[in-house]
Amino acid sequence: MSRFSFSNFGNELYSGKRSYGFVEKRKLWFLIAGAAVLLSLLIPVVKGGFNLGIDFRGGSEFTVSNVQDTDITAGEQAVTNVVPEAVPRVTNIAPQTMRVQTERLSDDETLSVRDALIGAYDVTAEDVTSNFVGPTWGEDVSRQAIVGLIVFVALAAVLMAFYFRTWKMSVAAMTALVVVMIVTAGIYSLSDFEVTPSAVIGFLTILSYSLYDTVVVFDKVRENTADLDVSTKRTFGEQVNLAVNQTLVRSINTSVVAVLPVASILFIGALLLGAGTLRDLSLALFVGIIMGTLTTVFVAAPMYAMLRMNEPEIKKQEKRVLHRRSLEESGQEVPAGS
């Protein structure tokens, strides 16, 4: 029985014995990525928009911990006794934890409802968290987030173009980034989790992670294609593909190592804490890290290869490579390998 070994896998990828056609089959990958993007754009439309959290809608929210009797009507009554016209949404978000959401209450009403909930669920004042949000707060957060996003992406594009000495890498990386953002947003919408400021933080982190991952792989691409003009061993596309294959073990290891802690927050957050900072943040990160790794190898690298393939220098080199190969095939026998 031949056992699968990671180091052997790595060896074969490194030598080129085992090779996945990241660049060769790029049309297929782009098609899949395009379909995923389209689907992700459709999900929120079909679902009627994102499930916006209280920070974006405005309103009052109460979280009651240490609840023994998680009766929903008790919470509803507590609210309507104080504010008869309110329509409270009471949910049992996690074991022993209730969440009560209402429209925006006044300060005094908020305090009274808080007291009523303490009585209704037989807890102490220590156990009740209340959150009152004006309708503009979420807008402020998202506006700043969008400003941050644009500034960061622009600076990162310049940084990459400067470091790699080609703007085509920046373009390829940004394309992958857009795919990551849209698909992550789509899956977030599908999960029906509320969009909270924490989720926004998660999205911003994905930006950084996705570009980070792309830079690592592109650095290997840069290394492999550095002396392309004097080599006739592989074409440009093949060199890019080899670089992606050679860093594949790194990509897998890194994404696993990055996803493991995030997954542990996600599951602990979702199972034990219910809705909240940890859960919302980690879902965005969980999806984003996986997507970031996938788009680097399936979108960014093939896109970069495609963008440069038509350059005259690259074409000339490709001709030389093909010429050498035809010579070898007609002449002596060349061992399989390339």
């Binding site: 070994s5 005094d108 990162a156 190592v257 390998g337």
Partner: protein
């Protein structure tokens, strides 16, 4: 061990890391002994429990924009109000130049909340009774029969008929030495009725008439040196006020009336009242016809500047709208922190297990590097909590957990490069050096992206995002320090040991497993040769390793030959690998 070379250089680097740790520990230790530093990070409200209000300032009666100076002044006013109300450890800060964030431990009472929201009211009122020289403490009440009874309706704001029995009783009961009396008023006193007020500066106690001029009628205020008749400096600090036209007119009337009272009569004075307490109670030395009064007295430059600031602020009453108010129960905060920590520990264990699975003993270096990075980050957070009042929020904790993956990636990039070098047939020592040269570039470039993200988020984003960005940036720096000062030198030293240097099958750097044929002789036997020497002796291993560089200097014929050779070698290596796998199963 030679005195020079990678080994001793690595040791020197490790010593520097030790020095860095010692310095940080001494700094924090000293801080906790002689100052208020702590070995435990400070926690933000969402973990510790408490109230956070985000307030949007609103200029009353106008759509004017708030300038940063006005916002700072507003923060100062809120700080005074909160401190005055006896809430300890309140933190007030501005956010992106437009909002004010108030963080309080526990749940504030309704009074404190109103106090924070209320707009500052500045008023000019005439003094009816009392003054700086009078006893500030509560007095024995005047007997019932001696209480004044107003003889007629007051005719103007200085009329003593304003002093009713109730006002006098309140005046006598007020103790201007007690902090409560000096605290800012929750609700502004009715402007058309007299009030009792204290002057915190002089501990004076006053009865004041109804409001004559509002603070909003001030156009501007500044301070400077008084000028004599010939324009010479009098070496005395004064505060200048400029009223608007309506204010000027009113102030002229007031000073005409007040100037008629003799010096020494309390009714010669007027009081500038802010939030129910007296900022200044000057006497009227002259009728002010042009709306440009000058206040002189025993001002220092600071006190003159402070008064001018307060007067300017009076010209712009700001109230605050609560944008968001969060009262986080201590229970929920503690729960989240506990579960967040559990999640982090589980995450770390999973990462450790995976590293050991992937990199065998080399995985131990990943784990120890993570531990070193963790301790470094912890010390930094404690020190920043002490010096910059940095508080760890839940978003910050999440940032730390996310950082585990990105930190470990630096090691993964490095290890994979070393393996690549080994696959090219290099010996471990030179593979470490060569792999490091290449990995260093990648690590620096990718960490630059991380740092850029952290810096941009920190400066652009609001609220929670900042704490997150901060930890992200902090861990990126810690990661760089650890890779350069710990992981790399450790690996250099480890490369010299027999275990790693000879590529033990559990070392994670076993050349046989990495598909390098020459060391491998089949059936699980590994030919042990000094690795350093092999590198020098074996031309084939060297040629394929340096193929990239050598290619450039070759003629075309040479290059073709070399390529064929290399490909043959790789094919053989692959076949050798295959046979080994069969042997093992």
């Amino acid at each position: 061990m030679p005195r020079t070379g990678p080994g001793s250089a690595a040791k020197r680097t490790l010593v520097w890391l030790g020095v860095l740790f010692a310095l940080l520990a001494i700094l924090l230790g000293g801080g906790s002994l002689w100052s208020n530093a702590s070995w435990v990070p400070k926690l933000a409200l969402d973990l510790e429990g408490g109230t956070q209000m985000i307030l949007a300032p609103e200029v009353q009666g106008g759509g004017e924009e708030i300038t940063p100076e006005q916002l700072d002044q507003a923060v100062e006013i809120i700080r005074q109000r909160v401190d005055g109300s006896g809430v300890a450890e309140a933190e007030i800060s501005t956010q992106s130049g437009q909002n004010v964030i108030v963080s309080l431990p526990g749940v504030p009472d309704a009074e404190t909340r109103e106090l924070i929201q209320a707009s500052a009211q500045m008023e000019f009122r005439p003094v009816l009774m009392g003054g700086a020289g009078q006893a500030p403490a509560a007095e024995t009440p005047t007997p019932e029969e001696e209480l004044p009874t107003p003889t007629a309706e007051p005719t103007d704001a200085s009329d003593p008929n304003w002093i009713t029995a109730e006002v006098l009783q309140e005046f006598e009961a007020t103790d201007c030495t007690s902090p409560e009396a000096l605290a800012p008023a929750t609700e502004p006193a009715p402007p058309d009725l007299p009030m009792v007020a204290c002057d915190p500066g002089t501990q004076g106690k006053y009865i004041l008439g109804p409001v004559e001029v509002m603070g909003t009628q001030i156009d501007s205020a500044d301070y400077g040196m008084a000028r004599g008749a010939q324009g010479q400096s009098l070496n005395q600090w004064v505060v200048n006020i400029q009223f608007d036209s309506e204010g000027s007119e009113k102030f002229r009337e007031v000073t005409e009336r007040l100037f008629a009272f003799q010096q020494g009569d309390p009714r010669n004075q007027f009081a500038i009242v802010l939030d129910g307490t007296i900022v200044s109670a000057p006497t009227t030395n002259v009728v002010i016809p042009d709306g440009r009064p000058q206040i002189s007295g025993n001002f220092t430059e600071e006190s003159a500047a402070a008064l001018a600031e307060q007067l300017k602020y009076g010209a712009l009453p700001i109230s605050f709208e609560i944008q968001s108010e969060q009262q986080i129960s201590a229970t929920l905060g503690a729960d989240q922190l506990r579960l967040g920590m559990i999640a982090g520990i589980i995450g770390l264990i999973l990462v450790a297990v995976y590293s050991l699975f992937q990199y065998r003993m080399l995985g131990l270096l990943t784990i120890s590097s993570l531990v070193v990075a963790g301790v470094l980050t912890y010390l930094a957070i404690c020190i920043l909590g002490w010096t910059e009042n940095y508080r760890l929020s839940l978003a910050g904790v999440a940032g730390l957990i996310v950082a585990i993956g990105q930190t470990a990636d630096s090691f993964i990039v490095y290890f994979e490069r070393i393996r690549d070098e080994l696959r090219d047939g290099r010996g471990l020592v030179s593979a470490v050096e060569n792999g490091w040269r290449r990995a260093k570039r990648t690590v620096l470039a990718s960490k630059a992206v991380n740092l850029l993200a952290a810096v941009v988020l920190y400066f652009v984003a609001v609220g929670n995002v900042r704490g997150f960005a901060f930890t992200l940036g902090l861990t990126a720096v810690a990661d760089l320090i650890v890779v350069f000062l710990f992981t790399h030198p450790m690996l250099r030293l480890m490369a010299k040991t027999r275990f790693f240097g000879e590529g033990h099958r559990w070392s994670g750097l076993d050349p046989a497993k990495l598909g390098v044929l020459p060391f491998y002789r089949g059936a699980g036997r590994v030919r042990h040769r000094p690795v350093e020497k092999l590198e020098e002796d074996d031309p084939r291993g060297r040629k394929s390793a340096a193929a990239g560089e050598a290619q450039r200097r070759q003629t075309i014929a040479e290059r073709r030959l070399a390529q064929q050779e290399a490909e043959q070698q790789k094919a053989m290596a692959a076949r050798g690998q295959g046979s080994k796998e069969e042997d093992n199963s």
